[in-house]
Symmetry: D2
Subunit: 300 residues, 4 copies
């Protein structure tokens, strides 16, 4: 089976008005950037719907997210991109991303046996809450196959093959190549190799079942019970080569008591995990998250 | 004693860098506003530190808050204001407010016998958390006089005189006139007359001890106990002629149980009240709250 | 089709240890109740696992929930119940409920078109988070039939028939009679008649999509948007003849901003609704909620 | 100056009804403990106001807190204590603490330069929210002396004397000896020596400015900023020889954003610190916290 054999899933049902684009700009702050962006968009007749801008007072780093409408957007995109490259990239040495938001980002979901994060994403997608398409779910276990396909979404079983991940990862890369814009690890219980992270070439979002940096590594709920904490949490972050150390996108916690066992914490934590992951996915899908070294700027 | 006899309290200790200004723009959305503001500021050499913009998709209303630095700000303010008036007011029919943020807003606090909200404001001010000056505290009770003066802040006792508030309100107006930029009712237990609200001419912020619109009117904690709610809350809002109906700035809640008496709720609620009020005051002081009819836009 | 034609759904997968019982006692406080209950259980060789007791200082009402283990529980239940009746009912004029918790309560779910609360309950039940059995889902719409049956749970379509609810309610009563221990309205958009509430004879839990008592009645999210609140909430309560006025079991809220439309509030609120309802159902299923007039005691 | 030269501060203003006692029982679970306690209290004519009991299903540890009233409590205490010793200590090998709650616990507060936690405790005490007396505040800095004494509470300045803490700690012990029931470190910036912790002989509560176990050690807000977390927190715990490793009593968090500097986090965190510490102190003062190894049972 090859990744090109199936049709991509239907686009998100959340009605994205036509002619909407997002522009994310990032670099070193200088006088005039906002004016340059605003002027360029204004001359093209674009109307800005929302604009968030932040300059880091310590580092002088500049971040801006602009959502705008423009009649005939699709036809105008190439020349608009050219003009932005000229003004922002050359003029101000800024990086920028311009995106037609009516084309939802394509999200692959990796899962193992736990279905709570996976189902929450599929269910929110079906309700139209997540402006993404989901061309595939990949799992190292067959357990969730039926549930995934009930949502009309292709499921691929790529079994783990022990310590040597190269064959499984090669299959992953073949499935993902050119088919997805980002990957979500929805409680996927395999560690990705540095080589895979590099080759996949798209952002990877993971949900970790603790309030990082507390309880790094495996078994965080058992560790939390052992330490006697009064809150447990979850953390959504971008995956980097350093396990559990990537830029944090979102976190949340829930109150627990002495009367709850490690298993109870796991059950309570599942609710936080799915809530945190769904927010991180939504914000990433809407270009609200900007990576800056090991940090994120989130215009939520 | 007259209001002009005393020196205003020291400015906020929160270090406000010189040459910082905030510009709030409000009106009907049109293509080019962001570019016009950005271009104008850029031509003057101002550097934008943060910019929040929001357009209401339903009503087409436009809101923008811009924080920027400009060398020689104070000298430049008059001509900048003129230019903004020309471009924004005439060109786009927009309202705008330009303010040198190194001059903190002057806040009068009204209190009665309860001191929790009052002391929290004074204490945060002393810590440098609130960029305001506090030229006066006015109370209809003598109870808090000593505490207020211990903070080095003038206290004025204006007793309530029964149903006819005209004499007391006249005294209030005399004290406030030209001395304050806004008024905070920190659990002030007197109802202001419509005439007073109109004549005082500055925004008035109130803290209501319930999660409005639940439990409008007096005795909300007793009503909350009676209804058996599981959360109690507080609401900070701008005062209008309609009691408890003004634009909401901030709200929060805290969880309570069946084991708590109405008095416990009152005590628990006091913590929410002071937290909510202090956030509302901070945001108002930093020009983060824009009134729009009976709503607020809060760029927090 | 009649309600007796189908087999009840499988019991909850949450492993309930055998020989566990819950005893809920309620009445007017007097010296010696705890000792009487403790002594009785102790003499029978029962071991108390957890005990929560609360006496209302204002009204003198007494509430106690005791969870205990007893070898040979099932055989011992009748004589234990007799002894409790003698000591508690006759001796202290107390009401009590003794329940073998290894037999999960049977829960019927009523739904309409919205599936978020319904699916959350079914999904939690499948995960073993809710110690109930679900013998049936009843809906006035066919929309959710397939989803419900995918969980292996019987679905019955009882269409609304306009203003006269008598035929539909008769069908409801026929399905429910002797088959369920409580009913959950999972965003069921029909108002139950007083006669139905009386005849059904089991507790009914409803989820209301606002922080009651704010925004009573229909369209709470539109009203919340109109009022400009900064938090929206949901309330789970027992249904009484007075619409939206029954005893509150659980409430929660989520923060919203000016940028969210009434539709966004609805979407955000759906997350609160399902969380609040699932907690209320869990607590009710575990005998943690005691009704006391229009209030609840919740030993959560 | 010696610790015996001054009169203890006034007792807590929170009206504690006479004849109220708390009984905390702890040990290994066995059938009949609740009955034994209940029977004993009942025979003495005591009325139980609230009872919380918890047995750890994993370890078989038993914990019970009972609040009761008894006419002529003070006279009855010695014989009641004797009877409890006989029945609980000898009969069941349980530890117990019986306390007349009308005599508030005596709390010493240690502080350094930061006043937010200190003032919050003093202010809550004055409002009658904390059922403690405060016989002394000890600080290694003179900064807070005036503020403390304004509350009518004795302040003792015991300067730090570098690495050798023995002289300062000897002075601490002399002040505390027989004068206090517990010690609160309200952002006290000195590390206590193991010898001091042992000799002081009363519980010590500390507030740590992070969500432990994240960011153990110094500078947690800087570390939190560096790691880019989205929530910051505070932890109240009992002090043990292992720094930041003692049993956790209470924790809470607050949401932060990329736009907040490490200094902002510090300011935001101060609010969480004082809230968390005040809850921990209240629960400790009301005998709601039971230590169990490195964990706590909190009947809040």
């Amino acid at each position: 089976m090859t990744a090109t054999q199936y049709a991509p899933a239907a686009a998100a049902r959340r009605p994205v008005p036509a002619h909407h684009a997002s522009l994310v700009v990032q670099g070193t702050d200088r006088v005039g950037i906002v004016a340059a962006v605003g002027g360029l968009l204004s001359r093209r007749g674009a109307n800005i719907l929302s604009l968030d801008q932040y300059s880091d007072p310590d580092t002088g780093a500049f971040f801006q997210r602009t959502l705008f409408t423009l009649d005939g957007l699709q036809a105008a995109l190439p020349s608009l991109r050219e003009e932005l490259a000229e003004q922002l990239a050359q003029g101000f040495a800024l990086d920028f991303t311009l995106r037609d938001v009516s084309a939802p980002k394509r999200m692959a979901v990796f899962a193992s046996k736990s279905d709570h994060c996976l189902l929450d994403l599929l269910w929110r997608h079906r309700r139209g809450e997540l402006p993404v398409s989901i061309p595939m779910v990949i799992s190292n276990h067959p357990d969730v196959a039926e549930e995934v396909r009930a949502f009309g979404i292709p499921y691929f079983h790529v079994p783990s093959m022990g310590a040597d991940k190269s064959a499984a990862e090669a299959e992953h890369l073949r499935l993902l190549k050119d088919n997805v814009d980002f990957v979500v690890l929805a409680r996927y219980m395999q560690i990705l190799s540095p080589g895979f992270i590099e080759q996949v070439g798209v952002p990877i979002i993971n949900i970790h079942h603790s309030f990082l940096p507390a309880f790094i590594g495996a078994g965080p709920y058992a560790k939390a019970k052992e330490r006697g904490v009064k809150l447990i949490g979850a953390t959504a972050h971008y995956v980097t080569e350093d396990l559990d150390e990537g830029p944090i996108i979102e976190q949340d916690v829930v109150r627990v008591t002495h009367a709850e066992t490690a298993n109870d914490l796991k059950r309570r934590g599942a609710d936080v995990e799915r809530a945190v992951l769904s927010r991180a996915v939504l914000w990433h899908a809407e270009d609200r998250v900007i990576r800056n070294g090991n940090h994120t700027i989130v215009f939520s």
